[in-house]
Amino acid sequence: MDIFQLLSDLFTNYTLRTVAMGSMVLGIVSGALGSFAVLRRQSLLGDAISHAALPGVVLAFLFTRSKEPVVLMVGAILAGWVGTIMMINIVKRSRIKEDSALGLILSVFFGIGLVLLTFTQRLPDASQAGLDKFLFGQAATFLIRDIYAMVFLAGVVLFLLGLFWKEFKLLSFDPEFGESQGFSMNKLDILLTTLLVVAIVIGLQAVGVVLMSAMVVAPAAAARQWTDRLSVMVILAALFGALAGVSGTLVSSTTEGLSTGPTIVLCISLIVFISLLLAPNRGLIWQALRRLRQKRTLYLDGVLADMYSLSRQHDNLEYAHRIEVLRTMNAGRGGVYRSLKTLEAKGLVRRADDRLWALTAEGLPVARRAFLLLHPHALDTPAEKAAQEKGSEA
C-alpha cells in the first residue's frame, strides 16, 4: 500500500478515520497535560492513575450495568482521582516516599480492580468484553460516539488549562512565590491533577493501562528538548502526541498483528529518540559537536601559548619556530599541524618556511593572553610587566 493511498484512506475510510481521530485527541490532551506532569517530576503519576482507574471502571459497570464509555469514564475518573489524592496524602503525612506511594497505589488499586472484575464475570448478562478495553485498549473498536465523548472531555480539559494557564505556570515553576501572591497552590495542585486524571482516562480506551503512561511522559519529554518556553513546550507536546496517535494508527492499519496501542507508543518513543539526538542546543549530537569545538579551541590556545613562550626567549617575538619543537612542547598530543593550519587561516600565525612557523602581529596579543592564562605567574617577570604597561598605555 503506498503512502498516498494510506493518506486518502485516512479521510475516506470510516473506521480508520474514527480511530485516527480518537488517537489524535488522546495524543493532544495527554501531551499537553503531560508537559506539566514531566516538569513537576510527576512523570510516573500517569502510570499510577491509569492503573488506579480500573476499580472505578468495574464499579461503574457493576452499579449501572452499562458499558457506555461515558459511564465507565466517569467511574475511571473518580477512582483515578481518589488514588491520586491518597497517594499525595501518604507522601505528605508519612515517611513513605513518592516512589513507594506510587507503586503502592498502582498495584493495590489494580488488585482491587481485578477482584471486582471477577464479580462481573459471574453476572448472567455480561461478559468482560467492554471492560477489557480499559486494560489493554482497543482503539480499533472506537465508535464515532466514543469520539464525541472524548472530544467533549478533551475540550473541557484544554479550556480549563487555558483558563488557569498563569496559575499552573506558577505552580510548576515557583509554588512558594505563587503562594505568597495569594494563590492557593494546594487547590491548584488538585485541579491540575484532576485534569491529568481526565486526560489519562480519555486515553485509556485507546492504548490501555500500561501504555497510557508513555503517552503522558513521552510527548512532553520530546517537546522539552526543543524549547525552554512552557507555551511552546505544551503546544509541541500536543503536536507530537497527535502525530504519534495518527501515525501509529496508520502503521498498525497496514500491517497484520500490530495492535494500535503499542504501535502508537513505539511511534512516540521514536519521536523521543529523534528529539534526544537532534534537538538544537540540548540534543546529544549538538552536545557532542559543542564539546568537539571546545576541545579544538583548547588545542589552538595551547599551540599559541607554546609559540609565545618560545618567542619570549628570543629578541624578536615574531621569531619562527620549528614544528618539531612545538610538537614536543605539546606533549605529543598530536594535531599540531592541523591547529597551525587553522590558525594560519585565521591570520594568527604564518608559515615562514616548510617547517618553520611564526606568530603574526595580530596573533601576538592573542597568544600572549593564552600564555598568561596558562602561566599566570609569568606576569611577575620584568619583561612581561613592561609589556603589560606598554599594552595598557596603548
Partner: protein
C-alpha cells in the same frame, strides 16, 4: 483444607516473602517504581528468549528475562545521565517502549503460543497446584513452591552475605563510595535479583501484583520500625499475612486470588498508616493535641509567673481574666486550668490561681528555653 488450598497458600506465601526481601531495599533506596518498570520489561526478555529457544518452559527464559531487567535499569541510568530527562521521566520512557515491543512481537509472531498478555497482567496462581514436580514418579508438590523457594533463598543469601554493604550503600551512598565499596556493582546485583524475583513471581501473581508484593509489605514495615533487620522481618510477616488472608478472602468471595492478596496488602498498609503506635495518623494527631494542651498550660504558668508579686497579681490570676488576656474561649480556659491543676502546676486559692513550686520551675524553664 484440601490439598489444593494448602498448595496455593504455600506458593503464595513463598512468593510473598521472596518479593518482600528485595522490596525492602527498593523502598529504602527510593526505587520502588523500578520494580514496576522491570515487571513489564521482563516480558520482552521472555519473548526474545522464547524466540531463541522455542520452548516456554526453558529455564533460559528466566535468564533472558533477568537480563532484560538489568538492561532496563541500565537504559534508565543511561537516559538519566544525558541529563536531558529526569529519572522519573526516564523510567516512564523506557518501560512502555520495551513492553510495547514485547506485545507487538507476541501478537505478530507468537500468536499461537500460550503467551497471552492477559495472563501476564493477572497471573494464574489458581493453577499452581496443577503444575507439580515429579521425581521418579513421586509427587513432590507444586513446582511454584520450588521455583520461588530457590529465588527466596537466593534473595536471603544475598542479603545475609552483603548485609553490611547493602546497609551502607542504602543509607549513605556517599560514604560507601568513599570507603571503597562499589555501589554500582551492588546496585546491579540487587536489580538482577529483583528481575529474577519478578520473573519467577510473574506466572503466579502477574506483573502488576508483583509490584504490590514488593512494595506494600516493606512500606508497611517502614512505618513500624526504624531498624533494618526488624523491617526485613516485618516485611516478610506482612507478606505472609497478605498471602494467607488474601487467599481465604478470595475463596470466600470467589474472586481473583492475586488481586485479593494485593488488596489485603493495601488494607494492611492503610491500617498501619492510621494506627501505627509511633508514626500512625492517629498517634500523630494525639501527639499534636497533647502538645497544644501542654503549650496552653505553659502559657498559663508563664502568665502567672509574670504577674506574681505585682499589685495586679490578684486580678490577673482570675480565670475570667485569662479569657480576656490570652484570648481563650471560656471552656478552653477552664480545661487548661483543670489540666494544670491536675499536673500540680497551679492551685486554686480563693477564686484565683496560684503557682506551685513545680509550676514556677516549669515556667522559668520554659522562658529560659525560648
Amino acid at each position: 483444607m484440601t490439598q489444593a488450598d494448602i498448595d496455593i497458600q504455600l506458593v503464595a506465601m513463598v512468593t510473598a516473602v521472596a518479593c518482600a526481601l528485595p522490596g525492602v531495599f527498593l523502598v529504602l533506596r527510593r526505587m520502588a517504581m523500578m520494580s514496576d518498570a522491570i515487571s513489564h520489561t521482563v516480558l520482552l526478555g521472555i519473548v526474545l528468549g522464547f524466540f531463541l529457544v522455542g520452548d516456554l518452559n526453558s529455564p533460559l527464559l528466566i535468564v533472558g528475562a533477568a537480563a532484560m531487567g538489568v538492561l532496563t535499569v541500565s537504559l534508565v541510568a543511561l537516559l538519566e545521565r544525558t541529563r536531558l530527562v529526569k529519572e522519573d521521566a526516564a523510567i516512564g520512557l523506557v518501560f512502555p517502549a520495551l513492553f510495547s515491543l514485547a506485545v507487538i512481537l507476541i501478537s505478530r509472531y507468537a500468536g499461537d503460543v500460550h503467551l497471552d498478555t492477559d495472563a501476564v497482567l493477572t497471573g494464574e496462581i489458581a493453577l499452581a497446584p496443577f503444575n507439580r514436580l515429579y521425581i521418579y514418579g513421586y509427587d513432590l508438590g507444586p513446582t511454584g513452591v520450588y521455583l520461588m523457594g530457590v529465588i527466596l533463598l537466593l534473595n536471603l543469601l544475598f542479603i545475609v552475605l552483603f548485609y553490611k554493604e547493602l546497609k551502607l550503600t542504602t543509607f549513605d551512598a556517599g560514604l560507601a563510595a568513599a570507603l571503597g565499596f562499589a555501589p554500582s556493582i551492588l546496585h546491579y546485583s540487587l536489580m538482577s535479583l529483583v528481575s529474577i524475583t519478578v520473573v519467577g513471581a510473574f506466572d503466579i501473581v502477574g506483573s502488576v501484583l508483583v509490584v504490590a508484593l514488593m512494595i506494600a509489605p516493606p512500606a508497611t514495615a517502614y512505618l513500624l520500625t526504624d531498624r533494618l533487620p526488624r523491617m526485613i522481618g516485618l516485611s516478610a510477616l506482612v507478606g505472609v499475612i497478605s498471602a494467607i488472608m488474601g487467599y481465604w478472602i478470595a475463596i470466600a468471595m470467589d474472586a481473583s486470588i492475586a488481586g485479593s492478596m494485593a488488596a489485603v496488602a493495601g488494607v494492611l498498609f492503610v491500617l498501619v498508616f492510621l494506627f501505627s503506635p509511633e508514626r500512625g495518623m492517629l498517634a500523630i494527631a494525639r501527639r499534636r493535641a497533647e502538645q497544644r494542651w501542654l503549650f496552653a498550660q505553659t502559657m498559663l504558668t508563664i502568665h502567672l509567673l509574670n504577674h506574681e508579686g505585682t499589685p495586679e497579681a490578684e486580678q490577673e490570676a482570675q480565670v475570667v481574666h485569662l479569657q480576656e488576656f490570652l484570648r481563650w474561649q471560656p471552656d478552653f480556659a477552664a480545661r487548661v486550668v483543670r489540666k494544670a491543676v491536675e499536673r500540680q502546676w497551679v492551685i486554686r486559692h480563693n477564686g484565683h490561681l496560684e503557682l506551685t513550686a513545680s509550676g514556677r520551675e516549669h515556667a522559668s524553664a520554659a522562658m529560659l528555653q525560648s
